[in-house]
């Protein structure tokens, strides 16, 4: 296992290096510079570029950037004077994570429960209602949900329609973010449960004369959870790292809003920092998923895992 982890780790570093390199050069391919005021004289523009090291050749900039990143320095924002990228990401992560966690707490358990009920009441009105909900909930884009909630709930003065600061501000965006996940997990749980219920070992359990609750909770439920649990690391890390749409609509100072702003303003350092941050999150999540698979389900063994 140790050898395996080491190999995975080395692979992660290489992946990150490739991502840094590709996104660095892509970013440089974008036309325009961070400084675009038509009135600024050339002489001043040159001094501005020099201030941020943008007067150097691109290979030089690349080496410099890579050296700094290795030392944990992601540079300063080009847009906001004197704000360093690490601070920006650290600050923006909290609001995104708060909303993401709330959305997860609402959606995952509820989705699992609804999916389970639908599976157990297969073919009844409850099942059709649950499936209908899951399809609609998954199909409606989150910005529609977000705006609808603003009109229906905030419009009546029940909750603030946007901004950030108090717990009341967390509720609507969390619900808007949760809805599609709720629907997704309901659908997933339903189909998994149905599949498990058809398995031989359930028949065995039934023929052994086990009671229905024991069959459902001890055998069917646990086994249906496997794909859900293995999908969770990626979903969790993505959910807590911010939604572009929801944050924009509710004016939440999170990572999603920051990413949009930084790309539009050619704030290279912030865009690069965020890209790296997302990449690390994703790689870590995949790594956890791999380990989970081998732990949760003995039928699946990652190559080398059992050496």
């Amino acid at each position: 296992m140790g050898k395996y982890l080491l190999r995975r780790f080395a692979f992660m570093i290489i992946t990150l290096w490739v991502i840094i390199t590709i996104s660095f050069f892509f970013m440089k391919l974008l036309p325009g510079t961070p400084f675009d005021d038509e009135r600024i004289p050339e002489a001043v523009l040159e001094n501005m570029m020099a201030q941020y090291g943008l007067d150097k050749s691109i290979p030089e900039q690349y080496v410099l950037y890579l050296t700094n990143v290795v030392q944990g320095d992601f540079g300063v924002s080009y847009r906001i004077k004197n704000r360093d990228v690490t601070t920006i990401i650290a600050e923006k992560f909290a609001p995104s994570a708060i909303i993401g966690i709330h959305a997860l707490i609402i959606s995952v358990p509820l989705g699992i429960i609804l999916g389970m009920i639908a599976a157990l009441r297969r073919g009844t009105a409850i099942d059709y209602a649950a499936v209908g909900f899951a399809v609609i909930g998954f199909a409606i884009p989150s910005f529609v949900v977000a705006v609808a909630l603003q009109y229906l709930i905030a419009g009546n003065g029940l909750l603030p329609s946007a901004l950030w600061g108090t717990y009341k501000h967390v509720i609507l965006p969390s619900i808007a973010l949760a809805l599609s996940m709720f629907a997704y997990y309901a659908r997933m749980m339903r189909s998994e449960m149905l599949e498990v219920l058809g398995q031989d070992y359930i028949k065995t359990a039934k023929s052994k004369g086990l009671s229905r609750p024991v069959i459902i909770f001890k055998h069917a439920f646990r086994n249906s959870l496997i794909p859900i649990i293995t999908s969770l690391p990626v979903v969790i890390l993505f959910t807590i790292s911010g939604s572009l749409v929801i944050e924009q609509i509710y004016s939440i100072p999170g990572l999603g809003t920051e990413l949009v702003k930084s790309v539009l303003s050619r704030d290279y350092t912030v865009s690069m920092g965020l890209t790296l941050f997302y990449a690390v999150m994703y790689i870590v999540a995949l790594f956890i998923v791999d380990i989970l698979y081998s732990v949760v389900d003995p039928r699946i063994r990652v190559a080398g895992g059992s050496e």
């Binding site: 036309p31 325009g32 400084f35 675009d36 038509e38 009135r39 600024i40 004289p41 050339e42 001043v44 523009l45 040159e46 001094n47 501005m48 201030q51 906001i80 004077k81 004197n82 704000r83 600050e91 909290a94 994570a97 708060i98 966690i101 709330h102 997860l104 707490i105 705006v147 603003q150 905030a154 419009g155 003065g157 909750l159 603030p160 329609s161 946007a162 901004l163 950030w164 600061g165 108090t166 717990y167 009341k168 501000h169 646990r222 959870l225 649990i229 969790i236 807590i240 924009q248 609509i249 004016s251 100072p253 809003t257 702003k261 539009l264 050619r266 989970l292 732990v295 949760v296 003995p298």
Partner: protein, 578 residues
């Protein structure tokens, strides 16, 4: 089977623990920031305990990119700086009349201004505000190492030796740079003669000089404090790394979330300030802004274009002219057959007169804009106080008068001269211009000119301009100060602004002449001549002049609105009848 399930349950339990743990941390975080804003954010349903009116104003503003006056660049930077700092002069409640700010009086001798600074004015930490603070701030803004985006203003007002300092190429060697810059700073025409006397030497009269002393780039900075917090890299990056000289001070700055201003008790004119608090929330999405306004979360917004029809008749709506002109820039340096047409004067004139601007503003802008009548928008100062420049020069509109038949005829002549068919021309626009661009596309199609619209952002636009790799760009210019030269300076061959091949010796000569003319009437005559030179070249074709609606709750009173420079002053504002 059993052990596997146990393991699975353990993992599940771990996940739940982590989730709960994270939730707990974040819970803490949201409560710590709670006390400071429970009284002022969105939901004000429970604020009925106030007797009289709570003097709190809720507004929106983007995250400032810099609040160091010498670096303030974006409109939100200038708006906030204008309300937390003060210059020698300040624009008054009517929005335009200059009043004394930190200066008590000034004298003019030739091109030399001597300002007397008020005796008793102090910074928010109690230090006196002196003439030295101005000298330091101006020189810091001109220091080429600091690359201030507005350092060109010092050259514009013709401050003695400003260009030599601001546009200096910084030597690689640091000590050499220091020596050269110090020498250039010593030569610049600003000097504190003593604590309360500031001498500013210009090389010629600039009409906007006094107005610009009310512009952020010209605000004072306390050198000792500035250096103490780390100079350029440290000053004004947080609420406590700056000093305040204006009506308000920042009490809380949550980056990308909000900025809270409170009344500055050390301000010399604090009795005039009635608001206790202003909260600027960072709301990027326009729909969200409207949502917040209608749910009383904010007290004023600019009406987004999509909502104009819905709100323009509201009692809370006011229409403002933004001193801005939108024009087609025809690239006379384009390649190929397209370039041949764009260089053809008849073709350009056909483009100018082939479109009905009355209809354009009514159909595409819902009456928000006014038809383009010249380079200089209505509202910009004229030679006499009672008449603006635009209405004093009505004949310039003739260059743009709609004449479809003549346009068709000119187009045919152009085709004959070029000897080829007219290819489709590219038109580059901002996304928010799509409605008017589509209208214009249709109008020009009727004329026989096919345009292909491409949407670009400002960065791509800038690189198109620089590479000359475009046919037509739908661009505009917003006045920096209230005098025609804010537009007319642009078209000189040395300004670097025309990126379509426009350059005229005759124009340059006239511009120089205006700079040496002190007689106002004479100067404005020259301005009119200059404008008609550009208009009759038809490579900059004015389409419309900007306007916008603002919504402001009726209980908000006495907000000063400015058409140039920082957009608002809240010094005199108050809440009444909420």
């Amino acid at each position: 089977m059993k052990s596997r399930n146990k393991r699975m349950m353990m993992i599940l339990a771990m996940f739940i623990a982590v989730m709960v743990g994270l939730a707990a941390c974040s819970g803490e975080e949201s409560t710590t920031s709670q006390p400071s804003n429970t009284s002022n954010t969105g939901n004000d349903n429970n604020s009925d305990e106030v007797s009289g009116d709570e003097q709190v104003l809720n507004l929106t503003a983007g995250e400032p990119t810099a609040l160091n006056p010498g670096q303030a660049n974006y409109s939100q930077d200038q708006l906030i700086t204008n309300n937390i700092q003060e210059g020698l002069m300040r624009k008054g409640l009517d929005g335009a009349t200059l009043e004394y700010g930190l200066a008590e009086s000034y004298e003019v001798d030739g091109f030399t201004y001597t300002f007397k600074i008020k005796e008793d004015v102090i910074w928010s930490n109690g230090d006196p505000i002196t003439a030295h603070d101005f000298e330091f701030a101006w020189k810091e803004a001109m220091d080429p190492r600091n690359a201030s985006p507005y350092s060109w203003l010092f050259e514009l007002i013709a401050l003695e030796n400003a260009a030599e300092l601001a546009y200096m190429e910084v030597p690689e060697d640091e000590s050499e740079a220091e020596t050269n810059i110090q020498a250039a700073k010593d030569a610049v025409g600003i000097k504190a003669l003593d604590d309360t006397t500031l001498q500013v030497t210009l090389t010629r009269q600039h009409p906007a000089f006094l107005e610009l002393t009310a512009f952020p780039t010209f605000f004072p900075v306390n050198q000792a404090f500035y250096e103490q917090v780390g100079g350029l890299d440290g000053y004004a990056t947080e609420a406590d790394t700056m000093l305040y000289s204006g009506p308000f001070a920042i009490s809380e700055w949550s980056h990308d979330e909000k900025i809270v201003l409170v009344k500055n008790d050390k301000y010399w004119d604090k009795d005039a300030v009635k608001l206790d608090k202003i909260v600027f929330s960072d709301v990027a999405d326009e729909n969200t802004q409207v949502q917040l306004y209608s749910s009383n979360g904010v007290d004023a917004i600019r009406v987004p274009n999509d909502y104009v029809d819905q709100y323009k008749d509201s009692e809370e709506a006011t229409q403002y002219a933004r001193i801005q002109t939108w024009w087609f820039v025809l690239n006379m340096e384009a390649d190929g057959v397209e370039g041949e047409f764009l260089r053809n004067e008849k073709f350009r004139e056909a483009m100018a007169i082939g479109v009905n601007r009355e209809e354009l503003v009514n159909v595409a802008f819902g009456g928000l804009h006014v038809p383009g009548t010249g380079l200089i928008p209505p509202g910009l100062a004229g030679a006499t106080p009672d008449q603006d420049y635009r209405s004093a020069n009505p004949e310039h509109t003739d260059f743009l008068a709609y004449d479809f038949e003549r346009a068709q005829q000119l187009l045919e002549e152009a085709k004959a001269e070029v000897g080829q068919d007219l290819p489709t021309l590219g038109l580059s626009i901002y996304e928010r211009q799509s409605k008017e661009a589509q209208y214009l596309q249709e109008q020009y199609r009727k004329l026989g000119v096919n345009l292909e619209i491409t949407v670009t952002d400002s960065k791509i636009r800038k690189s198109l301009f620089n590479s000359r790799d475009y046919h037509i760009i739908y661009a505009g210019w917003f006045a920096d100060y209230d005098e025609p030269s804010t537009y007319l300076d642009l078209f000189s061959s040395t300004s670097g602004f025309p990126k379509n091949g426009f350059a005229m010796d005759e124009y340059d000569a006239l511009l120089e002449q205006t700079q040496n003319t002190t007689d106002k009437e004479e100067k404005y005559k020259l301005y009119a001549e200059m404008e008609s030179l550009v208009l009759s070249n038809f490579s900059f074709i004015p389409m419309s002049h900007d306007g916008f609606y603002s919504l402001q709750k009726s209980y908000v009173k006495d907000v000063a609105v400015h058409s140039t420079g920082p957009s608002r002053t809240y010094k005199w504002a108050y809440i009444s009848g909420k």
